[in-house]
């Protein structure tokens, strides 16, 4: 999870989620924001996702899921469907990407979706109904006094059929009460408890109660690995994490541990893979300097292809289309929610042996980024005996 400052017009800085969802420039709307679309065969084995999609539009819906589970893409989908049904639909989100995608969908289909932040929505809505500004804390116009707001609106009935909330965990509980009581007949809320970042966030249960929501549908991280890749990822799985539940029906090659003798031989692996398969390749490194060196060597050898480096410092997440054919160099902090056809994990000696849950989690996350092919690369330094021993067996990870 990466936090970036999100400046509000009022001059106050709020931290908003950076959402690593990619919108290819050529497409728009739903397809654009979604992960690679599954076949029906694949989707039909993903019961939770399907349940979300089949949820009736005239009823409340509550969805919980970690990053990479496709929540934002489902929020666009739901917003689009609701707008088509009801003509006009408010969407509450801080997520820039979501707002942009919704705008594209709305423009393309001549439907009306209004995406706004919670604060501005409540301000406008309350004012439209009462003619007044919503009551707020004396020294903080951003902190609404929900109880006072409720009192002012006694007797007011919801005037919208539906309202969609994304990143609900970041909003105050009071808002959900307000939305369900006075704004919309049925709420659709997407949230991720683990991601909560603002001080006044709400828990899953608080949101459910205040918003009059049904039991949540809980999505798991929705990457589609071959069974072989999934086996390596699961080796690093710690108890608390959801495991990769969606496994592709086809079979792939067993991931491989490769020892390279120097930088050049590592680079030639990456280049070979790109020549053979094209597609998207993720190269995960630990040290920034290594990432820079890899990027510049690869770029030299593939001058006319996409070779990007992607990091929090560069703040370039929405300018890169990581899913298009090409090579993306990134560090372990930036891999969340990403997906590549092939993943190379370099500097393996710096990632293993894992000594705590956080390190295991990092290994799990890195391995699970690979759809089809996974290479763990070490060298020129040999792996320590401990590191070697912490790897999965030969049947799971070829040497």
């Amino acid at each position: 999870m990466t936090l970036v400052p999100f400046t509000q017009s009022a001059g106050r800085v709020i931290f908003a989620m950076r959402c690593f969802v990619v919108v290819p420039s050529a497409s728009s709307g739903l397809e654009g924001i979604s992960v690679r679309l599954p076949t029906w065969d694949e989707l039909s084995s993903d019961e939770e996702q399907l349940e979300v999609l089949e949820a009736p539009l005239d009823q409340a819906l509550y969805v919980i899921g970690p990053p990479g589970s496709g929540k934002t893409s489902l929020a666009v989908w739901r917003g689009e469907a609701l707008a088509e049904l009801y003509g006009q639909i408010p969407v509450i989100t801080y997520n820039r990407m979501l707002r942009r995608s919704l705008q594209l969908v709305a423009d393309d289909n001549d439907i009306s979706i209004r995406a706004s932040t919670m604060h501005s929505y409540v301000w406008r809505d309350f004012r439209a109904r009462t003619g007044n500004e919503p009551p707020a804390m004396p020294k903080d116009s951003f902190a609404y006094r929900w109880e006072a707001i409720s009192n002012d609106l006694v007797g007011v009935r919801p005037n919208k059929e539906a309202l969609v909330v994304d990143e609900g965990q970041d909003l105050p509980v009071g808002f959900f009460g307000y939305a369900s009581q006075f704004v919309a007949k049925a709420l659709t809320v997407f949230a991720d408890e683990e991601q909560a970042i603002s001080g006044n966030h709400s828990t899953i249960e608080q949101i459910q109660r205040a918003g009059g929501l049904p039991d949540p549908i809980i999505l798991s991280e929705n990457h589609r690995n071959t069974p072989e890749v999934a086996r390596v990822a699961e080796h690093f799985h710690t108890g608390r994490l959801p495991t990769a539940t969606v496994i592709r029906s086809g079979s792939g090659d067993v991931p491989r541990l490769i020892r390279t003798k120097d930088h050049d031989s590592t680079i030639s692996l990456i280049i070979n893979e790109f020549h053979n398969r094209s597609g998207s390749i993720g190269v995960i490194v630990d040290q920034q300097a290594v990432g820079e060196a890899v990027q510049s060597s690869v770029r030299e050898l593939l001058p006319s292809n996409r070779v990007d480096r992607y990091s929090y410092e560069l703040q370039n997440d929405d300018s890169i289309d990581v899913r298009s054919p090409g090579i993306t160099v990134l560090n372990k902090e930036s891999v969340k929610g990403q997906e590549f056809d092939t993943v190379f994990v370099l500097e393996l000696d710096r990632f293993i042996p894992c000594t705590n849950d956080a390190e295991l989690r990092a290994m799990y996350m890195m391995c699970a980024r690979a759809r089809d092919n996974l290479f763990l690369v070490c060298g020129p330094e040999p792996l320590s005996a401990d590191a070697e021993a912490s790897l999965p067996g030969h049947e799971v990870l070829e040497r």
Partner: protein, 712 residues
């Protein structure tokens, strides 16, 4: 007469998606057929589960074969042909097997909310397209028969292998190289014509296609290791086992070396090792092996690209150098490996294709091959060219219509035409195709020869014994000509992206510019190469004026670039001999109405050009001729607010503008460093242009200083 119009059933969205993915609506698990309503809807199961969407499906009886069905009449089940089911008496029939989705004529859901939700889910799935859905809640449902249907055997079943075969055929149709000989291979393969297959596959150097993935001829044995590997690949990739790519390579290798020689065995083993190396990123695919190991290469491509969707970018962007045989074989194997259900909709073709391929595949690979489908005849596959497209027909239907590409155009280009011949020679040289023959053309006369051998002429053949040397005379030439058959073979089989042949270039350029610019006349080869050389020698010896950024020479009259005119004081004297000769030729051959008396020589180097202009209307008569020396550059013409028309000023050619072309179109030479060549852009060096014009109003001064009217 009593025949029902439609059959109907009520099911849910998941069953609908199953059918859309597959093309067949299969019976529920553990059942051999589906109970459907006759001219009415019948609920397939009880209430629709959970939040699933109830969908009513209406099937058009006119598209279904007339099978024997069990009909529920007078409270009992009776067997009768579907065509004899009387809708008034029979509420339900048991359809004996799968129902084709192409017979669906209408889908309805109970409410707008259901419709939006259903179409919305469809948008999230890559391999289905939901047809139009209507909202209707009025139609009443028929009553479910009070007795369970008899245990009838299914007559319409889809075997396991069908999905693979349909996938292979669909991909083969999608990827077939659009060139005549390849179309012939496809047709022969789809119609199981083994003689035509033998002939057509040898014409494209792809004899392994004698064994199409969908038709294994039993009486033909593989001839070489490529064919053995291909057969092994069909066996392994066509099986329903889901294998990892490395296992596939191992199995194909084992299968292929089963009955072959030791030599073949080691070749296969080498291929296997190479393939494993590729899959481990230790080696790269060797595309240059397209002649030695086309099949091995195709399999490596399939194994390194796990999804059919990779083929789109693969062909269009990163592997344009694939040989047609390799690309087509790989795409077809990929379809075989993944099967039809996994194919995204873009590879499935249009509705007609889906319908015909579904039925034809069933005819090929199941026991129900003899079932008569009313909408699809038994016509064999065929193809024709129509309005720039390749059109494929099958079963009496047009199933594919795809635009002809550059390769296909070369295949039927008229190589007898000089321009085509010239470009073909250039293409062959650039691509390094060994298809050029050298021809000595000798004019009339005797030629002495020396050397120890001797010559004999018999039946239009010069027989040479021993070594001889013939001394050529002035005017004798050695030319390179295309060996037509060899050239067409390369066009058919060689890798690489080809430019379009001349006069068959992309639509904007294809119609001759003369048609688009009234008054423009292009004359190829107006000068001979010898003349070009002679004129250049003269020009190079003369003095250049450097008043412009480019060098110029003026003859006859000097043109004032600032005043944009010519006046009598600017007479420079008569045209030099070479210029006078060409001016007279232009006049004599009718290209200009008056004898030109002014010539400007322009020298353009590299990125020099000339801005858009119309030649001075007040200074020069109608009829301006431009002759190009040394290089072929483009000239752009544009009429006021009109589109640009690109005109190639061929080396040694003349371009004459009269009337509208002269007065209403501005022309320019773009400032740039390269020009489009036959294969790729080529750098500009030097082009010399000769412009012939007739000055208005002033007549050529005679020797004694009097003026006379300009000639003719």
């Amino acid at each position: 007469m009593f025949r029902p119009d439609w059959l109907g059933l009520v099911t849910d969205n998941r069953r609908l998606f199953d059918a859309l993915e597959d093309g067949w609506l299969r019976p529920l698990p553990s059942q051999t057929g589906s109970i459907v309503g006759v001219d009415s809807y019948l609920r397939e199961q009880g209430e629709v589960e959970g939040n699933r969407i109830p969908v009513r499906i209406r099937l058009d009886v006119a598209k279904l074969p007339d099978l024997k069905v069990a009909a529920f009449r007078h409270n009992q089940w009776e067997t009768m042909p579907l065509s004899q089911v009387a809708p008034k008496e029979v509420a339900a029939v048991l359809w004996p097997g799968v129902l084709p989705f192409f017979s669906v004529s209408e889908l309805t859901v109970p409410s707008e909310e259901h419709r939006i939700r259903l179409l919305g889910i469809g948008k999230r799935i890559s391999n289905i397209e939901i047809p139009e859905v209507r909202v209707d809640c009025k139609d009443e449902e028929a009553l479910v028969p009070s007795m369970p249907p008899p245990n009838a055997e299914a007559t319409l079943t889809v075997p396991m292998a069908e999905d693979s075969i349909r996938g292979a055929i669909s991909m083969a149709l999608w990827a077939v190289p659009r060139i005549d000989p390849w179309m012939n291979v496809l047709m022969a393969s789809l119609s199981f014509d083994s003689r035509a297959l033998r002939r057509s596959t040898s014409q494209v150097n792809a004899t392994w296609w004698r064994f199409p993935p969908w038709a294994r001829p039993l009486d033909v044995e593989p001839d070489d290791v490529q064919e053995r590997v291909w057969l092994a690949a069909l066996e392994v990739l066509g099986s329903t086992d889901r294998l990892a790519p490395r296992e596939v390579a191992d199995r194909i290798a084992a299968e292929a070396s089963k009955d072959g020689s030791a030599e073949d065995g080691s070749a296969v083993e080498e291929w296997r090792r190479e393939t494993i190396g590729i899959l481990r990123a230790a080696a790269t695919i060797q595309h240059q092996n397209w002649q030695e190991h086309p099949v091995g290469l195709a399999i490596q491509l399939v194994l390194s690209r796990p999804e059919p969707s990779a083929f789109k970018t693969w062909f269009d962007e990163d592997q344009v150098n694939l040989a047609p045989a390799v690309a087509w074989s790989a795409a077809t194997l990929c379809g075989l490996f993944h099967g039809y259900k996994q194919l995204s909709t873009r590879f499935r073709g249009k509705q007609d294709q889906r319908e015909v391929v579904a039925v034809q595949t069933l005819r090929m690979c199941s026991d129900c091959g003899s079932v008569d489908w009313p909408s699809i005849s038994s016509d064999p596959p065929g193809w024709r060219r129509e309005a720039g497209n390749f059109v494929i027909t099958w079963g009496g239907r047009e199933i594919v219509s795809k635009q002809e590409r550059e390769r296909g155009k070369w295949y039927r280009a008229d190589l007898e035409t000089e321009a085509v011949q010239r470009e073909a020679v250039a293409l062959a040289k650039t691509m390094d195709w060994r298809c050029l023959a050298r021809v000595i053309s000798l004019g009339q006369g005797d030629r002495p020869f020396s050397g120890s051998g001797h010559l004999e002429v018999r039946e239009r053949t010069v027989k040479v014994r021993g070594d001889i040397e013939i001394q050529m005379s002035v005017g004798d030439e050695v030319e390179e000509r295309i060996d037509r058959d060899a050239f067409l073979r390369f066009v058919t089989v060689a890798p690489g992206r080809l430019p379009a042949p001349p006069a068959m270039q992309s639509p904007i350029k294809s119609d001759r510019p003369e048609c688009r610019i009234p008054g423009l006349k292009l004359v190829d080869g107006f000068l001979s190469e010898a003349e070009e050389k002679e004129i250049l020698d003269q020009i190079n010896r003369s003095t250049w004026s450097c008043e412009l950024s480019r060098r110029v020479q003026h003859y006859g009259w000097r043109y004032d670039y600032t005043a944009r005119q010519v006046d009598p004081s600017m007479h420079l004297g008569p045209l030099p001999e070479w210029a006078d000769r060409i001016a007279r030729r232009l006049f004599d051959e009718g290209y200009v109405a008056k004898l030109p008396d002014q010539v400007i020589v322009n020298e353009y180097k590299s990125n020099q050009g000339i801005a858009p202009h119309i030649d001075s209307k007040s200074s020069f008569e109608d009829g301006v001729a431009m002759i190009s020396l040394l290089e072929t550059w483009e000239m752009w013409f544009r009429k006021f607010r009109g589109d640009k028309v690109v005109v190639k000023l061929e080396r040694c050619g003349a371009a004459i503008i009269r009337g509208e072309a002269r007065y209403a179109w501005r022309h320019e030479i773009p400032k740039r460093k390269t020009e489009p060549g036959p294969v790729r852009r080529v750098p500009r060096h030097r082009r010399v242009s000769l412009t012939f014009r007739k000055v208005i109003g002033v007549s050529q001064p005679l020797q004694d200083g009097r003026l006379v009217e300009g000639q003719g």
